[in-house]
Amino acid sequence: MSKEGKKTSKLKTPKIYVSKPIKINLTSLKNKIYRADLEIDGIDHSGASYEGRVFLNNPEANQDTPRNLKNGYVGSIYVFAHGGCYGDSGHCEIRKERRLYDYRSSNPLLPIKKRLIITIALSKMTKGTKDIRVTIVPILSRNLPTRNISDFEDVVKIDTIKILTYA
């Protein structure tokens, strides 16, 4: 294993994210939903890259939990991140404002959105359930150039989680 690999393996296990309960009344939508999505928005991608394994109603899920529906696993989000800032002070500050008729691309560090289609999983898993908790278990990419990444333990930073159903 390379020097960098050793450095990575010594990192503490990143924190697992568990959401507050999301209230949803599936009983009233039974047999009417043709699609359900889980949307995670406002994801920070300035630091380390990771796989976020997403589990529904399994707040005890961790890095060793098998990825199957029985354990609430509904898919993974993958965050390809920037690895910290390699410029001078202010280089990676996000400028959100865009002038009218400014058609230039938006700032590459703006938070991103991920979506998992969870129609089958939701219909199978939540019979009678009205509260859903979302657990995101981060698995860091291996052997990353780590020198400008400071926040490995708190890698999952998000703004909102939504469950969208289409009936």
């Binding site: 960098e4 991608h45 796989e51 993958y78 690895g83 390699y86 590459p108 979506r115 990419s141 052997n143």
Partner: protein, 172 residues
């Protein structure tokens, strides 16, 4: 110039991971230029002066052909965009090392064949669902630093290349 795509869903990839053309350190005793490259950025903070590296995960964790079939069936551009991006990100994380970060990924020769595969999937989706389907609001976005807009590059046939849609061979 030809740029081969790395089909991460192929049987060879799911068994063996990164193609040998990229993973063999030497070819006939000569260092393989596709195995690694050097990152030299003296102006970065701190300066970069190192070779690219990889640390791939288990090949069985690569995307499956079924995932790609489902991706190409999506009608809505926003769905396609967000799920293709997730698969793209997955491969970067799967390869790990320099490919695992935005700042360093493009230095790895494998980056280009990975992105060629992403470009190919985009083309295959367009053939099924239309070249500008769902993109009307973006056609006038400027593609800095190039003097081009999205509408100028939306159809790769206007750029002078295309991808084979399928491959059939017979023994003769």
């Amino acid at each position: 110039m030809n740029l081969p795509w790395w089909n991460w869903t192929s049987e060879a990839s799911i068994k063996g991971g990164i193609p040998k053309a990229f993973s063999d350190e030497f070819v006939n005793g000569t260092p393989n230029p596709l195995y690694k490259a050097h990152i030299l950025v003296p102006t970065s903070n701190p300066p970069f002066d190192e070779d690219t590296r990889r640390d791939p995960q288990d090949p069985s964790d690569l995307p499956t052909p079924q995932m790609i079939d489902e991706l190409l069936e999506l009608n809505d551009f926003d769905d396609f965009d967000i799920i293709l991006e997730n698969i793209h990100d997955q491969i970067h994380g799967w390869v790990g090392g320099s490919m695992g970060l935005v700042s360093t990924a493009a230095y790895d020769p494998l980056f280009w064949s990975h992105h060629c595969m992403v470009d190919r999937l985009w083309y295959l989706w367009q053939l099924r669902h239309g070249f500008t389907n769902g993109m009307q609001d973006m056609l006038d976005e400027v593609l800095e630093p190039f003097p081009l807009k999205v509408r100028d590059v939306i159809d790769i046939r206007n750029l002078g290349y295309e991808y084979a849609v399928a491959q059939i061979s017979v023994s003769v």
